[in-house]
């Protein structure tokens, strides 16, 4: 099976301060991976590297067949727009746009038009049918996170990057949320890289990876970036 993410010898540091040095890490296409590590261990930095917002100082980072080091910044922006769906921990939505506008926001950055039928299906799969014209501020936190999922999935990205999106939800909602997310991703064979420090949900994933074990930079909790 082909790799969705392929990392070898990847190095990243902020100035003198080394953050990541990963020997090897591979995620298969369609795999749903739990990446855990304490706060400050470089999880978010790794997501930003994969999203193409940050640039590694050395090593190889391949997404599908594309080596991100070969792209210029405009190339990285359009790669991100087309291939990556990103879900934040919280405050995922633009507060002054409606639910529908938030979901369609990714189409600002690429010239493709949304397929209205698919949008419709996605919205009903996520149980947002009755809320699409509401201001997002009227939604519950759980509903807001489902809008974020819809927005991340709307362009059928190869990879979903999720940065602790369940931390604001209680346990029941967390499981429900993940089940919906995984079902939708499995349907489209979308790879998921989900980072968290909370290992209580680990069992729901195909595989879990400890970042500390893969990162050759020694983690010291005092140096929180």
């Amino acid at each position: 099976m082909s790799s969705a993410i392929e990392i070898s010898n990847l190095k990243f540091s902020y100035g003198q301060h080394a953050i990541l040095d990963i020997d090897e890490l591979k995620v298969k296409a369609g795999e749903i991976v739990f990446l855990y590590g304490p706060s400050g261990s470089g999880k978010s930095t790794l997501l930003e590297l994969i999203a193409g917002v940050l640039r590694a100082q050395g090593g190889v980072l391949k997404i599908g067949t594309q080596n991100l080091a070969e792209l210029d910044s405009a190339g990285l922006d359009s790669y991100r727009a087309g291939n990556v769906g990103y879900i934040f921990q919280s405050f995922n939505l633009i507060p002054y746009l409606s639910v529908m506008e938030n979901i369609l926001l990714p189409f600002l950055f690429q010239k493709t038009q949304p397929d209205l039928n698919e949008v419709k299906n996605l919205i009903s799969d996520l149980g947002l049918k009755d809320h699409i014209n509401k201001p997002v501020t009227e939604l519950s936190v759980g509903q807001q996170q489902r809008v974020a999922v819809a927005r991340a999935l709307i362009k059928k990205p190869n990879i979903i990057l999720a940065d602790e999106p369940t931390s604001a939800l209680d346990y029941d909602h967390r499981e429900k949320f993940l089940k919906i997310l995984f079902d939708l991703c499995r349907k489209n064979n979308t790879t998921v890289l989900f980072v968290s420090h909370d290992r209580s949900i680990e069992k729901l994933f195909d595989r879990s990876i400890s970042l500390i074990e893969h990162n050759r930079v020694q983690f010291s909790p005092t140096e929180v970036s």
């Binding site: 999203a51 990103y86 633009i94 529908m100 926001l105 014209n133 940065d163």
Partner: protein, 433 residues
């Protein structure tokens, strides 16, 4: 089953919509910013418009006249009351002096003016047919009649375009001249000798439009039975039917306009008139006197413009402050846009675009207010201050101000645009809130 959202387009998204909704989200600061920018532009354009109208009024009301002659007073005075109906003449010029000066070989033509009476807020000018043949305004435009003919009988009156429009007069309308008033309500009226409208002038856009014109003999006729400025006693009135040409020979006029055959002779003739022995006279060169007046007024113009530019500066800075303070609150928003594929250029572009919307709305609003103000206040400025809002609505200067506003706003907005880009680069996606 039809779902709520089928076929609805309300969810469509565009940069314009994003920018508009973002501005609407910061409603108060957006409105205040647009308001202060609009205010500064309206101020600048109003000052400019008034200045333009005043300048046009001064330079266009009279042309082709070399000297304005009246009883001795200041040169500016004689021009102000003769041409613009501002102030009152104190003395008259005797008809003998007028005839003597008129007969001099340097003189090409003259136009006598006899002033002092009015009709319902407009002044009455007594003159002769030379007025219609020689009076020039703007650059060599002659007076033309829209209807009727110049006065020929004693009690004929030709009225200016504003008079006709304001009072709704037509050919044949009766006109009763008020004594001694050129503006405001009449105290004494010459109701025993009513005039009749025989001609209506085409609009000129100058003070000419705001007067009624009768013959010198007509002026003489309504005062023939008056004794030293007061109405005739009962039984002493002279009926209009019993007037003779002899009785109506004018004895004096208020002032007169003069054109020389050769411009070289102006200064000599002016000195000759100023040193005239028979009675104290003054000959004023309109261009010289008016430019003196204009220079003293232009200080006011400069002060007003200075203030308006300061207001523009305040407007621009309030925009800068409003956008800068919003940037910090919007870091999260920028991180979301970045995650969705926005480039750093997109982020700063969004800020620039928002400024563009603010500035454009301020400019459009200011232009709209300016046009409405001119429509509403134009007639008032015309009747109260003699300011005629003539010519193009937007002059080169006004377009220049708009351009300055537009480009300085865009230039200033580069500051928050660059700053938004820098903080988006630094924040990345993992901005902690």
């Amino acid at each position: 089953m039809t779902t709520e959202y089928s076929g609805k387009t309300s969810g469509e998204i565009s940069w314009l919509k994003l920018a508009m909704k973002s501005l609407a989200n910061r409603r108060l600061s957006t409105l205040l910013t647009v308001f202060s920018m609009t205010l500064s532009l309206v101020l600048l354009m109003t000052v400019e418009r008034v200045k333009r109208a005043a300048q046009d009024g001064f330079t266009q009301s009279i042309s082709g006249v070399d000297l304005v002659v009246g009883a001795r007073t200041s040169p500016l005075q004689v021009i102000l009351f003769s041409v613009f109906n501002i102030g009152q003449p104190s003395q008259n010029v005797s008809i003998e002096s007028f005839n003597q000066i008129k007969a001099r070989p340097e003189v090409e033509w003259t136009i006598p003016y006899s002033l002092g009476d009015g009709h319902r807020g407009f002044r009455v000018v007594a003159t002769n047919s030379d007025f219609f043949t020689h009076y020039n305004f703007r650059s060599k435009e002659k007076i033309e009649l829209a209807e009727g003919s110049p006065f020929s009988g004693y009690f004929d009156v030709v009225i200016g375009a504003d008079v006709a429009r304001t009072l709704g007069y037509k050919i044949g309308s009766p006109v009763v001249v008020a004594h001694g008033v050129t503006s405001g309500p009449a105290i004494q009226e010459h109701e025993d000798k009513p005039f009749k409208v025989v001609g209506i002038m085409k609009p000129t856009g100058t003070a000419i439009d705001r007067a009624l014109y009768i013959s010198l003999e007509g002026m003489e006729a309504i005062h023939v039975d008056w004794q030293s400025g007061s109405a005739p006693a009962m039984g002493k009135e002279i009926k209009a039917e019993s007037l003779t040409a002899e009785m109506l020979q004018p004895k004096s006029i208020t002032s007169f306009f003069l054109r020389t055959k050769n411009r070289i002779e102006i200064l000599n003739l002016q000195r000759w008139i100023n040193e005239y022995q028979e009675e104290p006279l003054i000959a004023a060169i309109p261009g010289v006197a008016l430019s003196e007046l204009w220079n003293s007024l232009s200080i006011i113009d400069r002060v007003l413009k200075g203030i308006s530019f300061l207001v523009m500066l305040v407007g621009l800075f309030s925009m800068l402050i409003a956008i800068m303070t919003s940037l910090n609150e919007r870091r999260r928003e920028m991180a979301i846009l970045r995650a969705l594929g926005a480039s750093l250029k997109n982020v700063s572009g969004l800020i620039l675009f928002e400024t563009l919307i603010l500035t454009t709305s301020a400019i459009l609003l200011a232009c709209l207010i300016k046009i409405i103000l001119e429509l509403l206040l134009g007639p008032w400025a015309q009747s109260n201050y003699g300011l005629y809002l003539q010519g193009a609505v937007f002059s080169a200067n006004e377009i220049f101000y708009i351009t300055i506003m537009f480009f300085s706003a865009l230039l200033i907005s580069l500051v928050p645009a660059v700053r938004a880009m820098r903080s988006a680069l630094k924040d990345g996606l993992s901005l902690k809130v």
